[in-house]
């Protein structure tokens, strides 16, 4: 089921220029245009290469990426100035340009294709199978890679119930956070009675730093459309809505174009592919708040009401949009559906762990060498993702924790690095899958400050409707501020725990029920760090300003001047190649020098401050 590498079976050369959000920001579009312009002048090439702008390859850090097929060559950090050389040397003469190849940091070998890198080798692409391989604006690109085949198969030989059975047997669980079994959700909607039924794709993606749904919407919109049509056929829905986060202009544009093309080809509309299935899709732009991704808030927002959650004692599958039975699934969930329907439940269910099947897309960020989007089988360990795919920590620092599950996820310590990533193990560890954020933290991170940071985010993003979440977050934030300022007490820790229990038990929606995770997981695994702040008035990581002073170890200092350059208040003095000193009367204790120094020369004064 793994995506094959060479898409274009004929030998015509293809230039795939990554125009995902990351590469575009680094000039990918200009590279694409330069190829278009320059290739026009090469009438001598018998069969002109095809140029395609693709979606995000997930390796934004090395972008703009240019891939050449059928030889499967990947060039990194390509600038418009490199294009004529690529055409002359590689496309015409067939010579590799070393300078643009990725060099493995360990073996020092130049790798001709990104598929050979550690970053990609361990990945297994299902939801992201087409991204980077196709031009999202070309419906034929999608069709060429098995696109709309699942739909044809379903309409010809399957009933709606057959589809639900396959999705259930595949063990697909929702990728939007909760991990609810998708087949069971669809069955409930199919069984519910209502004049009309609806399908919703949740593309709100409010987690800061997450961009998996955006990548799919931008880079492979037809897979969402096909997934939703299959869902509609399965449950008997007539209309679909894709709720897209407001900032995602390109996603809206690409998806809009794809919907238009799908209608022209008869995949959407009144009599889909000549059958009596009628279904169409509309795009709705998001309300702009994190909480709008919560399904009942999202439904309220589509209906034009305030985007606030409601109690879900009656599920949306029974009474959802406009009071009608509604299936709502995440973008990535939908992207898996066509593959499952086309190839059957078994190949999908073979991947993953007992209760979490298939793959999951993660956005790997933070203090790791390779950052980006990665899709791995469920059950892959945190260590494999962080060290093998991610290449380990930056600056060879030591690993402290990985934050998973978005703002209301938890922090997992080094002792649990061998934890297999799946829905249930993460919850057991006091965190969650969420939408798939993985933020790697090194030993220069203060875990109390991390808890404070997420609590602060949630305090601003909670809808504020219910008491436990709104007032609980307010009180927790005050306490964490106090501890970071060196004014916390031991009783504060009990209070944090007591409030957490109430938030978990009594909050209206999952935001409030999971919001204590940052506090609880750090208390569980890093309690000694809280105690250091409270009892010794010391921030072991040197992050909390009120509790930290820095000095430069004259033995370790090489006089490289990096700290001096990064000090925003010019508190560091010293000539090149001579020992530097920090003037404590000017220093604002931001810790930038501490984080920047490659020689560990900047040190924390660890004695008690008062």
């Amino acid at each position: 089921m793994q995506a094959s590498i060479n898409v274009n079976s004929n030998d015509r050369q293809t230039v795939l220029v990554c125009c995902g959000t990351g590469c575009t920001a680094n000039g990918g579009r200009e590279v694409f245009k330069t190829f278009e312009t320059l290739l026009k002048d090469h009438a001598e090439i018998e069969l002109l290469p095809v140029i395609k702008a693709t979606g995000c390859n997930g390796w934004c850090e090395k972008g703009p990426l240019v891939r050449l097929l059928p030889r499967d060559i990947t060039y990194c950090s390509v600038a418009p100035e490199d294009v004529s050389e690529i055409i002359d040397k590689t496309l015409i003469e067939g010579i590799l340009i070393k300078r643009l190849l990725y060099r493995d940091p360990v073996s020092k070998e130049y790798l001709s294709s990104h598929h050979q890198t550690d970053f990609y080798r361990k990945q297994h692409k299902i939801a992201l199978r087409n991204i980077g391989e196709i031009d999202p604006g070309q419906i034929d690109d999608y069709i060429e890679r098995e696109g709309y085949q699942a739909l044809k198969k379903a309409l010809q030989e399957m009933s709606g119930q057959d589809i639900i059975n396959i999705v259930q047997a595949a063990g697909l669980r929702g990728r939007g956070g909760g991990g609810f079994p998708t087949g069971r959700k669809w069955q409930a909607c199919k069984n519910a009675s209502g004049e009309e039924k609806f399908i919703i794709c949740n593309g709100d993606e409010g987690d800061p730093g997450a961009f998996m749904d955006r990548s799919i919407l931008e880079g492979d919109p037809h897979t969402i459309i096909e997934g939703m049509i299959l869902g509609a056929y399965a449950v008997g829905a007539s209309r679909g809505y894709v709720y897209v986060r407001d900032e995602y202009d390109l996603a809206v544009q690409n998806l809009g174009q794809a919907i238009g093309n799908a209608r022209q080809r008869g995949y959407l509309g009144n009599s889909i592919l000549g059958s009596d299935l009628a279904f169409d899709i509309e795009i709705v732009r998001g309300g702009g708040a994190f909480v709008c991704g919560e399904e009942t808030a999202l439904i309220a927002s589509i209906e034009g009401r305030t985007g606030e959650p409601h109690d879900k004692y009656v599920f949306p599958t029974e009474k959802g949009l406009w009071g009608m039975p509604t299936v709502i699934n995440n973008v990535e969930t939908w992207a898996n559906v066509p593959v499952i329907v086309l190839h059957g439940a078994e190949p999908f269910a073979r991947i993953g762990t007992e209760n979490s099947k298939g793959t999951k897309v993660f956005s790997l960020v933070g203090k790791v060498v390779n950052t980006g989007l990665v899709e791995v089988p469920m059950g892959t360990t945190l260590r494999e993702v962080i060290y093998e795919i991610g290449g380990g920590l930056l600056k060879k620092r030591s690993f402290k924790a990985v934050q998973t599950g978005g703002p209301s996820g938890g922090c997992i310590p080094a002792s649990l690095l061998d934890l297999p990533i799946d829905f249930d193990s993460l919850i057991e560890a006091g965190s969650m899958m969420g939408s798939g954020g993985l933020i790697v933290m090194d030993d220069h991170t203060c875990m109390v400050e991390v808890a404070r940071y997420y609590t602060n985010f949630l305090a601003g993003e909670s809808c504020g409707k219910c008491t436990p979440c709104r007032e609980g977050l307010r009180a927790q934030l005050e306490i964490l501020n106090r501890i970071c300022d060196g004014e916390g007490t031991i009783e504060d820790l009990d209070l944090l725990e007591d409030i957490s229990v109430t938030m978990q038990g009594a909050s209206l929606c999952a935001l409030g029920r999971t919001a204590p995770n940052p506090v609880l997981s750090t208390l569980r695994y890093f309690r000694e760090e809280y105690l250091a702040h409270i009892e010794e008035r010391r921030c072991p990581a040197g992050v909390c300003r009120a509790l930290t002073t820095f000095y430069i170890d004259p033995v370790k200092c090489t006089g490289c001047q990096v700290c001096k350059k990064h000090c925003s208040v010019n508190a560091i003095q010293g000539e090149r190649k001579e020992v530097h000193v920090i003037d404590e009367s000017i220093c604002i204790r931001c810790g930038e020098c501490y984080r920047q120094c490659a020689f560990d020369a900047v040190q924390l004064r660890q004695e008690e401050l008062r």
Partner: protein, 246 residues
Amino acid sequence: MKIMLNGQEREAREGETILEMCRREGVPIPTFCYHQAFGGQGACRMCMVELREEGQEQMRLVAACTYPIKSSVEIITESERIQRLRRTIVMLLARRAPDNPLMEALARTYSSPRLTAIEVEPPNCILCGLCIHACEEMGRTAIWSMFRGIDKRIGTPYDEASEDCIGCAACARICPTQAINLEEEGSTRRIWNKTFDLVACQRCGKHYATREELEYLWERSEYGQEQLCESCRKKTLAINMKSFQQ
């Protein structure tokens, strides 16, 4: 439909909420944001109870004011777990209205620890949302809730005198913590940054309602444009009834 309430078998009407059923059965459940007129909002979470649906092993927590009874459930309205939640909820809300008698009494009932008071706008507001519903019930949208998260608060649009406000004071009357400032002096009333003239009762002369409120009610009522305060209206009604009976 038979259900179990605190260990006793009771009869519930299909679709009614746990709270409605308990009120009918005389089982007390504390609430802030519930009002008969508007139904449950599920906002204050004071009404949490423990519940077990058929086939489930563990009891879970649900809001009594929004949970519709649809099957033979088992409900517990008082337990240590519930007591603990209510204690914390009162602790968290009481700091918004530190000197309010209701909140003080509740803090005593639930032995809630006292947290430092916080300044909120309007002072003493516990964000139950009842005032907004009361305004909506009058058919007006003079006040709404602004911002989200810990900044959420109630007010008029842009905190200016709202054109929609008719000074009826339905919001102030429904507020459990008297947080809405209602000033009356002689023939004027001030509420939500707006001053209104009060109309005098034609019988007793008491200033009892704003002109705007009366005009608004007259517009949508089929009865005459009488200018009588509540108690005089009742009296006239009684007199009329008598003459009718004679």
